[in-house]
């Protein structure tokens, strides 16, 4: 079987696995919530993976772009009658547009300087949300249930004798979007855009010497990444039904980066595993819930010192042939 064929098979198996798991857990609200949460975080981290892993553009405001998507969804679904499917896309677009504000400073700066720009943006956004009363201030905003056509997401599923928790709706949608995002990111990586992004990350000067438009490559990666984070944020906001500035702190951005690093930076295949570990583990072991930031930070330090390529390191790109 070719490599592409193997990857397709693995993708199909992963989807079947998640679907089967969700069906088995169909009456357990909390478990379904965690499954959906992992899928949503995977979408956001896929976005960060394009930025950090492919283009080498640092973004320490992942949770911020996630939040922009969430707040966009809240504002649209509370104030307008826009169909909810469009709201998810609008969340992504809002995050991508918010990222555009940063494009100039991110393009012109490198390394530490670029990191500062995104960190400053993360703190700016959070402070802004806390002091801005029209967006709910520190108390946050409530969101109505998600509806796509006749499909009402907060109603329990009942088809004949089959019954399931309403959260299964969100799992289905999140799984669909995660599969879509995954396919997109893998295809970007395999395309010439992916090769260009790699070249830009590894050596900007020689990439420029080969005529690769560096600015365009970086803007593409940054915007695509923020878009994915925004879509994930909008879906998450609807699922939880409530958003507040505390959900989008700098610490949350660092957790997203930890997942990326744990999974193996630049390799989307490790992300689901890493996201599952980082999200499910503290929920199952309540003892460590309180210590989760401490543990993740320690874990990431150990990974960086002893296994800097993550759990599932990125394989070498093979150009041409199977």
């Amino acid at each position: 079987m070719t490599r592409e064929g193997r990857e397709r098979l693995a993708q199909a198996l992963a989807i079947v696995f998640v679907a089967g798991l969700s069906l088995a857990l169909r009456e357990d609200d909390f478990a379904l919530f965690l499954v959906a949460r992992v899928l949503i975080v995977v979408i956001a981290c896929l976005g960060l993976n394009v930025q950090f892993g492919y283009a080498g553009v640092v973004n320490f405001a992942g949770a911020t772009f996630f939040g922009v998507g969430g707040y966009m969804a809240a504002v649209l679904s509370r104030g307008t009658g826009v169909p909810h499917l469009f709201i998810l896309v609008a969340g992504g677009i809002a995050a991508a547009l918010a990222g555009c504000v940063l494009i100039l400073p991110v393009l012109r700066t490198r390394g530490h300087y670029a990191a500062l720009v995104t960190i400053a943006f993360a703190l700016l956004f959070r402070t802004f949300l806390e002091v801005n009363d029209s967006l709910g201030g520190p108390q946050g905003l409530k969101l109505p249930e998600l509806r796509i056509g006749p499909w009402r997401f907060n109603e329990p599923i009942a088809l004949g004798r089959f019954e399931a928790s309403f959260l299964l709706n969100y799992v289905i949608l999140a799984l669909f979007l995660a599969a879509l995002a995954f396919a997109l990111v893998v295809r970007v990586d395999r395309s010439w855009i992916g090769v260009q992004l790699d070249a830009v990350r590894l050596d900007e000067t020689s990439a420029a010497a080969f005529g690769i438009p560096i600015a365009r490559a970086k803007i593409t990666a940054f915007t695509l990444g923020n878009f994915l984070a925004g879509v994930a944020g909008a879906l998450s906001a609807h699922m939880v039904g409530f958003i507040a500035p505390n959900n989008y702190s700098f610490g949350e951005s660092l957790i997203l980066v930890s997942i990326l690093l744990l999974g193996g930076i630049g390799n989307p295949w490790g992300l689901p595993l890493a996201a599952a570990i980082v999200i499910v583990l503290p929920e199952q072991l309540q003892v460590i819930q309180e210590y989760r930031y401490l543990l993740y930070a320690g874990l990431v330090i150990l990974i960086l010192l002893f296994r800097p390529n993550g759990l599932v390191p990125r394989p070498l790109r093979r150009l041409g042939g199977a």
């Binding site: 080498g56 400073p105 960190i119």
Partner: protein, 306 residues
């Protein structure tokens, strides 16, 4: 605005600027010798403040009442302890990753900051709540017109200025300072001249961290309150200050610190929106400065670091 009110704002801005400058000097020193950003610097500052508070609690329990003795002990223990902490970080996390991708160093220090911050929150008694910091300086106020100059604030300002001057003297006039500048300029050449590179790095991290600890104590004395998360904002502000001044440049760091404080004060006082937006304004200006001058106002110059 009356003159007295204006003077009050200037005084307040100067206090903030002094703290930011102390933090920024640390960033710039680390960048000078090792070309790295120590992102946990802000949390080192918080650790220094909590170390100071812990020392004070321990000493008062032991029955020490002399305010001079208390203050001296608090500052010395905090500065030395934090210097040690900074050196240990450099030895265990930053030096081993020398030569690794920049992103890894950045992440390691960011995560170390998180570890430190969470450790304070979880393990300091009542650490998740803001802690009252004792007023160790005389709080007599001198009124001139409507302006009140508090003695403790004046002392803090003087102490900060003296400390920065002392650091400058140390870097430019002593043998170790010379070695630090040599390493900053060219590590390889410095090594061939017989300079112990590792030792210089550790010393520099010690000095920078001790400065942060003093800034932390100043913050506690000024606001009478410290908080486990205080380092995050102060660290980012200090880093922003070091960067807008131009990394690796001591004067730039000081300038950047006062500039950021000025921005915050202007944002709080002189602009037409609510004062709660002062940080939003200040960070927006920082982002704009980065876009306009990507390596800071004074600019990174290879020939003169530190």
């Amino acid at each position: 605005m009356t003159l007295a009110l204006f003077a009050q704002y200037v005084m307040n801005g100067a206090m903030l600027g002094m703290m930011y400058a102390l933090v920024a000097v640390g960033f710039t020193l680390f960048f000078g010798v090792l070309d790295v950003i120590q992102f946990s610097h802000g949390d080192v500052l918080a650790a220094g403040a909590f170390l100071a508070l812990g020392t004070w609690v321990a000493l008062t329990k032991l029955g020490v009442v002399s305010p001079v003795l208390l203050l001296a002990a608090v500052v010395v223990v905090s500065a030395l302890g934090t210097a040690l902490l900074g050196a240990v970080f450099a030895r265990t996390l930053v030096l081993p990753l020398k030569g690794a991708p920049q992103l890894n160093v950045l992440l390691v220090t960011l995560m170390m900051g998180t570890v430190l911050r969470e450790a304070i929150r979880l393990f300091y008694p009542g650490g998740s709540q803001p802690q009252l910091f004792p007023a160790l300086l005389p709080t007599t106020a001198y009124g001139v017109g409507g302006f009140h100059l508090r003695l403790d604030n004046a002392i803090l300002l003087m102490a900060g200025a003296l400390l920065i001057a002392a650091t400058h003297f140390f870097i430019t006039r002593t043998r170790i300072g010379l070695a630090i500048r040599a390493v900053a300029q060219d590590e390889e050449t410095a090594r061939t001249m017989g300079i112990d590179f590792r030792r210089i790095v550790l010393v520099t991290f010690g000095i920078g961290s001790a400065l942060a600890a003093v800034a932390g104590v100043m913050d506690g004395l000024y606001y009478n309150e410290i908080f486990f998360g205080m380092g995050l904002l102060l660290g980012v502000i200090g880093f922003a200050a070091a960067i807008i001044g131009g990394l690796g440049n001591l004067y730039g760091a000081i300038l950047g610190g006062f500039l950021f404080a000025a921005l915050q004060t202007i944002g709080a006082v002189a602009l037409p929106f609510a004062s709660a937006y002062k940080d939003v304004f200040a960070f927006a200006v920082v982002i704009a400065i980065m876009a306009a001058r990507p390596t800071g106002l004074i600019g990174e110059r290879a020939s003169e670091r530190v």
